[in-house]
Amino acid sequence: MTQVATEPSAFVEDYRRFEQATSSADPSWLWDLRREGIQYFSALGIPGSKDEDWLYTNTAPLHAREFPLAPPAEHPPASLAAQRFTLGLDTGPRLVFINGRYEPSLSSTKDLPEGALVMNLKAAFDADREDVRRRLGRIAHAEMHPFAALNTAFLADGAYLELAPGCEVAAPIQLLFLHAPVGHAVAVHPRILIAAGANSRATIVKRYGIECVGALAGGTCFTNAVSEIDLADGADIKMVRLQREGTRTYHLGLTSVRQQRDSRFAMTSVSLGGAIDRHETHADLTEEGAECVLNGLYIVGNEEHADNHTVVQHRVPHCQSHQLFKGILGGAARGAFTGRVVVHPQAQKTAATQANHNLLLSEHAIAETRPQLEIYADDVKCAHGATIGRLDEEALYYLRSRAIGPKSARNLLVHAFASEITEAVDNEDITRGLEALIAGRLETEPEVPSNGDDA
């Protein structure tokens, strides 16, 4: 698995086809951005395991097979099975994308307060919106990140959210990206652009899922998602990322955040498996008083792989960042956490914590953990820690001594381990919705091993 990025990628070929098929009426600045994207991608190449940042992510499948841009779904769903895709949030604003394309019939932008703009990017391109031109590609750096570059090259649609200063959106805004299999391997490059004005406030759920109705025997999907989030002074944005595209998906996600004075960004990333699910979060704390909370939960089994990668840059004094990532690993799955907190020389009075805890449910599961602090300032409070362990035998016995069977006892303990993450989501509906999905996930794989029968 030591790939060297030298050979021309099939993605570059596919870009030529995309270029021909895509409307020349798109604004010229967008074409410039796309061309830059494919150039950066060509120059950077697909990283291999020799690249320190990609040590735990096997990118070989991206070399080995072609992932042409996804065509429109053959049988787009007529409705959203509410509980499967909307986290129990049946109402409220949402944008739905099927195979990368906006699906207005499933979306709703009613009930938004004044000052909140929620629209799809294609519509913004068609209207040649100046604000989108000004903002797109400023926070996720295509020149440094091959997959951000690739996403930018294929930029065609996605979600655009703009919150005016002081705007508060009470209901969670849901962004659903669904893969409807078409019978062969495909790629989608979903993009999210969020500009949160001063003292604005919102909860945003981005969800990547698979629509199986009518096409169960679909091909694999390479999802290459990029989100750019800009928080102005005092903005308070909560985000939930939920990835559940099935065991055959290769998902690479990048969430890039820039935070200005006294802003607060809190993200909970929940990964329920995939051939590969790698999620990177880059948070840039550029002004004093910013707070960044990154929580994550990954549940993988079989031969699945979950990889969480965070980089938090403390550039100025008096900022806080807190990270808690938990992995539940069964089968022969692999879970990795690489977290970097960089405290720059002038960033005095930084408070940063970072923790990664892993629960191994099988002999063959592997957890890799690399919490890293790079501290160049002297007056800071930073802590990090990592654990890898099995279910607590004492707790198991305690539950069994209360008449609870071993299988139920194990399930309770696994849910308890996960609940620290789900309970931290500051929205009861979302917490319950996530718990239901997690319960469903744990029922199938990874198997909670059992030494005895439950009577």
Binding site: D392, E393, E394, A395, Y397, Y398, L399, R400, S401, R402, A403, I404, G405, P406, S408, A409, L412, L413, H415, A416, F417, A418, S419, E420, G452, A455
Partner: protein, 256 residues
């Protein structure tokens, strides 16, 4: 006493933890309705006896047998023993973040009810029971929604053990040094919980280092454990004698 009133019969029980032999031939019978106190110095095997009776892994029974209501107990898994009506109040209750007290209690109670052929309780009926038991122990109802023992004080943990016992209504309650670390007020509340459960069909084994608890839970019998054997048995006055004389005499006196 006839055999059909016998709750538990321990015959020549030997047990070890790791390579170390701890219990070296315990004989003890407890009949329905009786409270037996087991006293003894540290290291005499009191807690090991509790663990052996509840099926704790790491405590190996090497010899002897235990009959619970006439049936062999030692081959049963811990949850089966619990469903059959054996309850251990832990000396060191385990903290379980992420599982609420009420979840633990409801899962446990429903498993017991299922075993008894009774229907499972719904959330509302369960809560009513749990709250009424909490009231007996002067516990805030809010304790039911807190994670099991997580961040509880020593006294709260012990009280929580008794709450679980009140909810599960065992036939044999084993209290492993439930009094240790309790102030006198907490001790009285814990004793009240135990006395609440005392009934002609229910028995208790109360393990304690000190006589103090036995002022409030009056035992029918007192046994002194020393070096893995019962060195002496008597009525409740034996506890007072121990209080006066300490355990030092055990080392000189032969078992009787």
């Amino acid at each position: 006493m006839t055999d059909n009133k016998r709750i538990i019969e321990i015959r020549d029980l030997h047990a070890s933890a790791g390579d170390k032999a701890i219990l070296k031939g315990i004989n003890l019978s407890v009949n329905a309705g009786e409270v037996h106190a087991i006293m003894g110095p540290n290291g005499s095997g009191k807690s090991t006896l509790a663990r052996a009776l509840t099926g704790r892994e790491g405590t190996d029974v090497t010899q002897g047998e235990v009959l619970y209501k006439g049936e062999d107990l030692l081959d049963l898994d811990p949850e089966i023993r619990a469903r059959a009506g054996i309850f251990l109040a832990f000396q060191y209750p385990v903290e379980i973040p992420g599982i609420s007290n009420s979840t633990l209690l409801r899962e446990g109670l429903n498993a017991v009810r299922h075993h008894r052929g009774e229907s499972e309780l719904d959330a509302i009926d369960f809560l009513q029971i749990a709250r009424s038991k909490a009231d007996v122990l002067e516990m805030d109802h809010e304790m039911l929604s807190r994670a099991v023992n997580d961040g509880f004080s020593g006294g709260e943990k012990k009280r929580n053990e008794i709450l679980q016992m009140l909810v599960l209504e065992p036939h044999l309650g084993i209290l492993d040094e439930t009094d240790s670390g309790l102030d006198i007020d907490a001790l009285k509340v814990v004793a009240k919980g135990v006395n609440e459960l005392r009934a002609p069909e229910r028995s208790f084994i109360v393990i304690t280092h000190y006589q103090r608890l036995l002022d409030y839970i009056i035992p029918d019998f007192v046994h002194v454990l020393a070096d893995g054997r019962i060195a002496r048995s008597g009525g409740k006055e034996l506890a007072l004698e121990l209080e006066e004389k300490g355990y030092g005499w055990l080392e000189e006196a032969p078992a009787r």
